[in-house]
């Protein structure tokens, strides 16, 4: 009954989405406020029905109703409650339902809080949202229905993949989807602007909070996923240049560029063409990610060919939306009037440079991810593109970008003074050089690039602080008045500072971890001691434990530094009986921002265990940086300017006034 209700609710949501895709557009064409307002009520109703459908699937999972295929294949009655809930999106069908739920949520938010939008813009935006929604409802209903029943219900389920039975699954996919799908709003706004042929600073002000919100979630989602991979997979890697990771990195790069363009559009009414293009790109790349992962094309081109229904359907959606929006862009972009002029050396110019580097980085990831697939389809030749390729091509792009980051906020709009900015950055530059010298002296004989990279990170952080010092007049005016000025600064300025500093911090973490990571691989017996980076780790013993749906072998290590006990670490291996799979649970010991990391390998016949111990210096900075970036984004989002919302345009077309 619940499954059928959920299914039916989804069908109703599709019907509503179809109405929402057409009626408001006609309303805008005929200037009929009543028809345009259909968008609002149907978006809200759609949200209600999709939420009901999602709630139905959650209920089925929570109550372990194994008469539903999706529950049978991905759940187990003994699974802890949290994983019964997160298991809802731990599979293809459920994750697509989460995808459309979040899409409907964003549509509903625009409908609920978009009262200050011009009526026709809101009608167009919601209609475009509904096009996307309709396509994905159809996809779910035709190829990936999560509510299918089994004729003869089994008594027990097949359990969720053990690797996914982790708190990470509760946080990472929803965050990532809030990011991906959040970009649909900027996409819809961009398409609406192209249809209406009008785009102005007010438009940028409406789009910016949505983009910022999506970007914050995507940043946190990627960072969270990276940390999850780091502790769950057992070899201490945190980024693999895997196509699936690349699929989330591409929209992030485009979205970051979009955010910066929106600032220019809002403040200076320039970079319209960039802004529209990046809005389209950010969401198109999110769709591409969905295709890459959902179609099975990554596993093998042949797997895609043998079961092409899902893949072809998403490919079709991809072609229609990306092709359609880019065609619309090519056709209508020239209508958008070019805004304010600026000299190449100016804040606008710096942001254009930023866009250029970020889009090139995005293109690099794009070609590296898709080229092997394309080559195999076209010529049948198989090549691999992995981490060494990306390290060589993607890395160098970030060096000039990072050098430029501190300059951007110090340049004036329209016409900047590069020399002046450089002078104001002297202190930051000196600090960076000191950092290079100190690190170089400290790690003599080691890598020569690492100290330079750390210097660059310090430069970015100090540069971000320089902007703040300049604006508050700290060290120039009395302390009290500098503090007063600091309080008076717009929150978006603070946001910029935190976000840029976060970039520098992440860079330092990445460099330290990759350069000075130490590793100890050996088989250990009870009483053996391993020494790594000055820490002594003694294997005290091994114990067997029974978990709710697994058996666990845990090894206990006591950790000492110079004879002083620091704590106990218990890495383990879990064996999940239902699927016959095992997972490695790494043990982590955090010291400041560095970590000790132990993961277990196989046990030999004589009881000795293969052990990998890592010391990862500064590793937590890798994720602390993105968290700081997201925090900066949140500060910026809470800026008064965005809270208050965009002002109404001075001139409202006379026919539309009544509805406002």
């Amino acid at each position: 009954m619940i499954a059928e209700a959920g299914h039916y609710a989804l069908v109703l949501a599709l019907a509503l989405a179809l109405i929402q895709s057409t009626v408001p557009i006609l309303g805008a064409r005929w200037r009929d406020p009543a028809l345009m307002n259909v968008a609002r009520s149907s978006a809200l109703a759609q949200l209600l029905f999709v939420a009901a459908s999602f709630a139905a699937l959650v209920t089925l999972h929570v109550t372990s109703d194994f008469s539903v295929v999706n529950v049978f294949e991905n759940s187990h009655s003994l699974k802890p409650m949290i994983y019964k809930i997160t298991g809802v999106w731990g599979n293809h069908e459920g994750s697509m339902l989460l995808w459309v739920s979040i899409l409907a949520l964003f549509g509903g938010l625009v409908a609920a809080f978009g009262n200050n939008l011009p009526l026709s813009l809101r009608a167009h935006v919601l209609a475009v949202q509904a096009w996307i929604a309709s396509a994905f409802y159809l996809f779910i209903l035709i190829t990936s229905n999560p509510f299918l029943r089994i004729a003869n219900p089994p008594i027990e389920g097949r359990d969720l993949n053990p690797v996914l039975q982790d708190i990470g699954l509760a946080v990472h996919p929803p965050m990532l989807y809030l990011g991906y799908v959040g970009f649909s709003i900027s996409f819809s706004f961009a398409v609406a602007a192209l249809i209406e042929g009008r785009i102005d600073a007010a438009w940028a002000r409406w789009v910016r909070p949505w983009t910022l919100m999506a970007w914050i979630f995507l940043t946190l989602g990627i960072a969270m996923g990276s940390y999850w991979a780091y502790y769950e997979l057992g070899w201490g890697g945190w980024w693999f240049w895997d196509p699936v990771e690349n699929a989330s990195l591409m929209p992030w790069l485009a979205g970051t560029a979009l955010l910066h363009s929106l600032v220019v559009m809002e403040k200076r009414n320039a970079l319209k063409v960039w802004t529209i293009l990046l809005s389209i790109l950010a969401f198109s790349l999110s769709l591409l990610g969905t295709f890459l992962v959902r179609s099975g094309v990554l596993t093998s081109v042949h797997a895609f060919a043998t079961d092409p229904t899902r893949g072809v359907f998403i490919l079709l959606i991809l072609c229609i939306f990306i092709g359609g929006s880019l065609t619309l862009y090519a056709w209508r972009a020239s209508v958008l009037k070019q805004g304010g002029l600026f000299a190449p050396i100016s804040r606008e110019g710096a942001l254009v440079l930023n866009n250029l580097f970020l889009t090139t980085a995005c293109a690099t990831v794009f070609i590296g991810t898709l080229y092997p697939l394309a080559l195999e389809v076209v010529t049948g030749e198989k090549i691999s593109v992995g981490a060494p390729f990306f390290n060589l091509t993607f890395g160098p792009l970030f060096v000039p970008l990072m050098v430029a980051v501190p300059f951007g906020p110090l340049l004036a709009w329209k016409r900047g003074d590069l020399l002046g900015a450089a002078q104001r950055l002297t202190a930051a530059g000196v600090l960076a050089l000191v950092a290079v010298a100190v690190v170089w002296a400290w790690t003599r004989g080691g890598s020569s690039l690492a100290p330079l990279a750390i210097g660059l990170g310090v430069f970015v952080i100090a540069g971000a602080l320089t902007d703040l010092v300049e604006r508050t007049g700290l060290f120039r005016v009395p302390y009290a008045s500098a503090m007063r000025r600091a309080r008076g600064l717009p929150r978006s300025t603070w946001g910029t500072m935190f976000a840029h500093a976060g970039v520098g911090i992440a860079l330092i973490g990445i460099v330290c971890e990759t350069t000075w990571n130490s590793e100890y691989i050996a088989t250990m017996k009870r009483g053996d001691t391993a020494v790594i980076a000055g820490y002594q780790l003694t294997l005290d013993g091994v114990l067997q434990q029974q978990g709710p749906n697994y058996r666990e072998m845990a090894a206990q290590f006591s950790v000492r530094l110079d004879g002083e006990p620091l704590g106990i670490m218990t890495p383990s291996k879990r064996n999940f009986t239902t699927r016959g799979m095992s997972t490695t649970e790494a043990a982590l010991l955090t010291r400041g921002v560095s970590q000790l990391y132990i993961s277990l390998g196989d046990t030999a016949a004589d009881g000795a265990i293969a052990v990998r111990i890592y010391h990862k210096p500064m590793v937590l900075l890798i994720w602390f940086g993105p968290v700081l970036m997201a925090f900066g984004g949140m500060l910026s989002l809470s800026d008064r300017r965005l809270r208050v919302g965009a002002p109404k345009p001075a001139r409202v077309p006379p026919g539309l006034q009544a509805a406002e």
Partner: protein
């Protein structure tokens, strides 16, 4: 398995096996310099039965065979390039995680630098064109009358020096 975690999407591509140690203790060479070379080489080589994993990361039996093979070649006195050539001759170019620059990978290697260069050039030309256009723009340029009036106003204004 890393891809499972890497994105929520990845759930679809479950390779479905355990995470474990890659390099096993019994594989390690006694000479630390040679072992380091073996590790560096391993990171550039793909485990052909895995998704986008290097043999250094993978726990698949094939990856172990390849790791042992790399160490065997190093122990036999091969240079890094010789080891790579040996593996490519045996397993094809698919084994390299960083493809060689050849005719069929030209686009792959050239796209990133040419995007940067092309994009930079396009932006520069665009700026020049717009600046040039703006200078010819009658709305931005002053008419001779306006120019003369401006000169008069400037002349009439007391200079800052006189104010002091």
């Amino acid at each position: 398995m890393k891809h499972i975690i890497a994105g929520a999407f990845a759930i679809a591509v479950l390779a479905g096996s355990s995470a474990a140690c890659a390099v096993q203790p019994d594989e390690i060479m006694s000479d630390p310099v040679k072992e380091l070379r073996a590790r560096d080489l391993s990171r550039e080589l793909r485990c052909m039965v895995c998704q986008n994993q290097s043999i250094d990361d993978s726990e698949a039996p094939l990856a172990r065979d390849l790791r042992l093979l790399v160490r065997e070649r190093i122990a036999a006195g091969d240079s890094d390039a010789q080891v790579i050539d040996f593996l490519v001759a045996r397993y094809g170019e698919f084994v390299l995680l960083k493809p060689r620059l050849e005719s069929h990978t030209l686009l792959l290697w050239l796209l990133p630098p040419s995007t940067l260069a092309g994009g930079g050039l396009a932006l520069w030309l665009n700026t020049r064109r717009r600046t040039a256009k703006a200078q010819d723009d009658p709305l931005i340029k002053l008419t001779p009358d306006e120019e003369a009036r401006l000169q008069r106003l400037i002349a009439a204004e007391p200079t800052p020096d006189k104010l002091v």
